[in-house]
């Protein structure tokens, strides 16, 4: 009897709670300040991609503070405000967030988008609602290949173009005859692998092993054992953080040696990769879009400031967000009128030097509003990520071919 009373009381309480919150739902967004220019940013702040989303949010806020100090965040007496939304790494939530930002918060333009799936959905919604959207990280080729005039991508290369610098290095130094490709079976992974495969065919390089694995896989030994049998000169791998670390660790365990192991961005440049892989990370190379040591103005300062402020090192994801914030606020300052069309026009005319290099939204090779990317090859040397290619910006000499595991 006592228990049932307790249950009854709880049931009452919960019903009341629910009613209050559900009815409260209708009120959100009505207190929107009318004198602010809102800039909506959709990032994964919870869920499995939160590590990247949080870094990008921090970078956005840091850039905003700097621009505020420079007096760039007030236009005709209206203040620019950042409105962050969490997409939980899920695309239906990304759609909800887009709807909320555009229809409730009345944002002037949209940005963000980490995973390719979420970026696709945000881009599609932005295009149908005629609101400019500037993608930060989502890099599947298709996003800027649909001819969508409202979608811009400045700081991220299309996935199949991540390897520009690597191919330059291949032609000049590595000159592999046989390569192996392993990649995570995601949008980003398949796009990257496809781009790499096509470049191989163009050069007549033989692909001796070409296999994908499920995201979240933990045992790579069967795949690596098969890979070992084909003994390729070079291994190209596209992975996120945990799988990247496990792949190189298990390669060491089964004593598989190749002359060069290169990752296709994402996981292989993260500080967490080095922490998890330990000494197996030594000499692992990766393509990347940005490194702290790059020669673009402000890149080193950004790295230092971020590290001081958040006591964590940023990688290229942070730089992408930081540069995007500058691009957005620059466009808002130049826009003749703050209507979506006015901002779209201003974005189209962007020509800005950022920590990611010059940003210009151009139409080329079937892409629309896509910056031509600058890419780099980096290599872990003594626990530090060194730029080894292109030659003019390198911070250390490349190690090629890398020594066998036993000879280290």
């Amino acid at each position: 009897m006592r228990r049932s009373k307790w249950q009854l009381a709880m049931a009452c309480l919960l019903s009341v709670c629910l009613l209050v919150t559900v009815t409260g739902c209708g009120d959100t967004g009505t207190d929107a300040g009318k004198d602010a220019i809102k800039l909506g940013v959709i990032l994964p702040l919870t869920g499995s991609e939160a590590m990247f989303g949080t870094m990008e949010k921090n970078a956005f806020e840091m850039a905003y503070e700097e621009l505020k100090a420079a007096g760039k965040t007030t236009i005709n007496g209206k203040e620019i405000k950042l409105v962050f939304e969490d997409d939980q790494g899920r695309q239906d939530v990304a759609k909800s967030a887009t709807e909320k930002l555009v229809n409730q918060d009345k944002v002037a333009l949209l940005s963000g988008g980490y995973s390719s799936a979420c970026t696709n959905v945000i881009a599609g919604s932005a295009q149908t609602m005629n609101i400019p959207f500037v993608a930060v990280t989502g890099s599947a080729d298709d996003i800027t290949k649909k001819g969508w005039q409202w979608v811009f991508r400045g700081t991220a290369a299309p996935a199949s173009k991540y390897t520009g610098a690597l191919w330059d290095m291949m032609d000049n130094v590595i000159k592999s005859k046989t390569v192996a490709i392993i990649y995570e079976n995601t949008d980003f992974g398949t796009s990257s692998a496809k781009g790499f495969r096509q470049e191989c065919q163009k050069r007549g390089i033989q692909v001796v092993f070409d296999q994908h694995y499920e995201s979240g896989a933990i045992d790579f030994k069967p795949m690596l054992a098969n890979l070992k049998n084909t003994s390729p000169d070079l291994v190209f791998a596209v992975s996120y953080v945990m799988d990247a670390a496990m792949i190189v660790k298990q390669m060491k365990e089964i004593d598989f040696n190749s002359k060069f192991f290169v990752g296709g961005g994402a996981g292989y440049t993260m500080p967490e990769f080095k922490e998890n892989a330990g000494d197996a990370s030594e000499f692992v190379a990766s393509t990347t879009l940005w490194v702290p040591g790059v020669t673009w103005p402000g890149a080193g300062d950004f790295f230092k400031k971020y590290t001081d402020k958040y006591t964590k090192e940023p990688d290229y994801h942070g730089a992408q967000a930081y540069a995007t914030a500058y691009v957005l606020i620059d466009a808002l300052n130049r826009a003749g009128d703050l209507s979506p069309a006015g901002i779209q026009k201003a974005l189209k005319e962007t020509d800005l030097m950022t920590v990611m290099g010059p940003i210009k939204f151009e139409d080329w090779e079937g892409y629309t509003n896509q910056t031509k990317p600058s890419t780099y090859v980096v290599q872990w040397q003594k626990g530090k990520l060194e730029v080894v290619w292109p030659e003019k910006v390198k911070s250390a000499a490349h190690v090629y071919p890398v020594p066998n595991w036993k000879e280290r």
């Binding site: 409260g24 969490d86 239906d92 229809n103 079976n185 949008d187 992974g189």
Partner: protein
């Protein structure tokens, strides 16, 4: 009894009229968007409920039907350039066809076999659609450009889908078949001894369940306009979520899944928009509390309250209509 039945229909009619009036009152597209998502989930929940709630055959793989329905719409557009709205016709049929062999095999057995087979089916479909890249575009997913963008249009289509699903489910459950289904859940041996062909009737529950889940999938594709295998065949975000939606609203009740979906989606979105990074945590705790203290869901909880408060007043100890159908 008859009077109560009439009152119930009247109530349903009032709810329907209110639902039809909603877009003329709430014009904000964001709120309509949330209501559209609610209707998608209410449809899947109602479909799941027919099988899992009334018949007691718990499925951990409704994502398989949802995904097949969504892909039917997407692939029609991708390969044949047809309007994805044709998927609304094809998707449910394909989903029901996919359900048929599983039902025919697993329903001969008892115990957890069906639940496990469905769990596997969802994952098998996810892997298949990821790896058949020629046919499905693999992990790149299918992106369509919707021709219609009016939220009001989608609202009414979604409402129609939900109303049809509710109506068909209601009619099945309240026909003779409904009593067969409940008897299978309550005691299969007793049901068999009364001459009910249990395997057949379990399939009778499975097919409409898969059909309407596929319909919801095809509608979802038309609305969200982008799918990939990890989204629509997702174990936690689709298969398990539908179970939570039904649990929250009330298992084996007519309105339970709809109310559950309403609360789950609206509350989840409200928390996401207001609580920042803590949103998933708070939401999770709330769901735990509801399941702990209202094990029969919101509807069940309300019923208990009603009984407690009016126990001495009215002379209806067992509750009214439909009470027989609930455990």
């Amino acid at each position: 009894m008859n009077k109560i039945k009439k009152l119930n229909w009247l109530f349903a009619l009032l709810v329907l009229l209110a639902a039809i009036a909603v877009p003329w009152v709430i014009k904000a597209p964001y709120h309509l968007h949330i209501l559209i998502l609610v209707m998608v989930w209410a449809t899947i929940g109602t479909a799941w409920n027919l099988l899992g709630g009334y018949t007691g055959q718990v499925s951990f793989g409704h994502a398989a039907f949802f995904g097949v329905g969504a892909y039917a719409a997407g692939l029609l557009n991708l390969h044949y350039g047809l309007s994805p709205w044709w998927g609304m016709a094809l998707g449910p049929v394909v989903a029901a066809l996919a359900a048929l062999p599983i039902g025919l095999i697993c329903f001969r057995l008892r115990g957890p076999y069906f639940a496990l087979a469905m769990l596997a089916l969802g994952e098998i479909f996810r892997l298949m659609f990821t790896n058949l890249t020629e046919f499905t575009n693999g992990a790149k997913g299918v992106l369509i450009m919707p021709e219609i963008t009016s939220k009001m249009f989608f609202y009414y289509v979604g409402l129609t889908v939900l109303v049809v699903t509710l109506l068909v489910t209601y009619l099945i459950v309240h026909s003779k078949i409904g009593y067969y289904l409940v008897s299978i859940r309550e005691d299969q041996d007793a049901a068999t001894s009364l001459g009910i062909p249990t395997t057949f009737y379990k399939n009778v529950a499975l097919l409409p369940s898969a059909f309407f889940t596929g319909l919801a999938g095809a509608f979802y594709m038309n609305y969200v306009a982008f799918i990939d295998p990890n989204i629509v065949f997702n174990l936690s975000n689709v298969s398990v979520m539908v179970i939570l939606v039904v649990m929250m609203g009330g298992v084996a009740t007519t309105w339970g899944p709809t109310i559950g979906a309403g609360i789950y989606i609206a509350l989840g979105e409200y928390f996401r928009a207001t609580l920042g990074s803590a949103n998933v945590l708070v939401f999770g705790i709330l769901v735990c509390l509801i399941i702990m203290f209202m094990p029969n869901g919101i509807i069940g909880g309300l019923e208990t309250l009603k009984q407690k408060f009016f126990r001495s007043g009215t002379g209806l100890p067992g509750g009214g209509n439909g009470e027989v159908l609930r455990s």
